[in-house]
């Protein structure tokens, strides 16, 4: 289980996953705005 508060390494891995999630969210919002 990834705990971002346990070590810098885990915090960084959590950040990378968060980046991936937010890039998808932002891309979806921008695509939906362009289409609708």
């Amino acid at each position: 289980m990834l705990n971002p508060l346990r070590s810098e390494d885990e915090a960084f891995r959590f950040l990378v996953r968060a980046i991936a999630v937010f890039v998808v969210i932002i891309a979806l919002i921008l695509i939906l705005r362009a289409v609708v």
Partner: protein, 212 residues
């Protein structure tokens, strides 16, 4: 440190705490947790920070959803591309910080110094662009509720970046003075957790304020 291990000259010999070489300083702090104290402190601090940001986001969503106010407010133009580039700058600083931390764990002092210095420069650049954005954005915090919450959320995050920059400055100076080693690098690791937290919060703030 050395003074703490030397017996006090006025202490009577053989009184109370035993013979020569025994610890005569203050007693060690009670350790009731399996997590070491600096890490536990940073964990509790970050958890409290999440609550503070949560309170500010509550105000934001109250204005947008409960009150139904338009976002951004009429006449309020947000510099989305500039803030996006700024987000990329801040996120890249987490990568350089991670490089610095990995470097010192592998005994690479050059990597530590270069990584920390680059992280500090990227963080300063982010803060400078944010201040420049405030100076040129064309509205003030007191104009309307939307403007207030814009400055509150981005300003709260900016304050956290400032605290992070102070910590990064300490680490960078200490790195250039020869501190830290593969065995002793907690001073890099724990502020590193905080810096990654600040970056994650910016992802949330940027998406919420500039994109949604």
């Amino acid at each position: 440190m050395e003074a703490a291990s030397i017996a006090h000259p006025s202490a009577p010999a053989g009184h109370g705490h035993g013979g020569a070489g025994e610890h005569h300083g203050p007693p060690p702090a009670n350790k009731s947790s399996r997590v070491e104290a600096p890490l536990l402190g940073m964990m509790l601090f970050i958890i409290s920070e999440v609550m503070i940001f949560g309170a500010f986001f509550t105000a934001y969503f109250f204005i947008r959803i409960a009150e139904g106010e338009p976002w951004p407010a009429p006449g309020m133009h947000l510099p989305v591309p500039v803030a996006g580039v700024n987000a990329a700058i801040l996120i890249s600083s987490s990568f350089t910080l991670h490089w610095a931390e990995k470097s010192i764990k592998n005994g690479n002092r050059f990597g530590l110094k270069a990584g920390m210095f680059t992280t500090l420069l990227l963080g300063i650049t982010f803060e400078f662009i944010q201040i420049n954005e405030y100076a040129n954005i064309g509205f003030a915090p007191q104009d309307h509720a939307q403007q207030t919450i814009f400055y509150s959320l981005t300003g709260l995050h900016g304050a956290h970046v400032f605290i992070g920059l102070c910590l990064l400055s300490f680490i960078t100076i200490r790195a250039f003075r020869g501190h830290y080693s593969p065995e002793s690098n907690r001073g890099v690791e724990i502020p590193g957790i905080y810096w990654h937290f600040v970056d994650i919060m910016w992802l949330v703030v940027y998406t919420t304020v500039y994109i949604l």
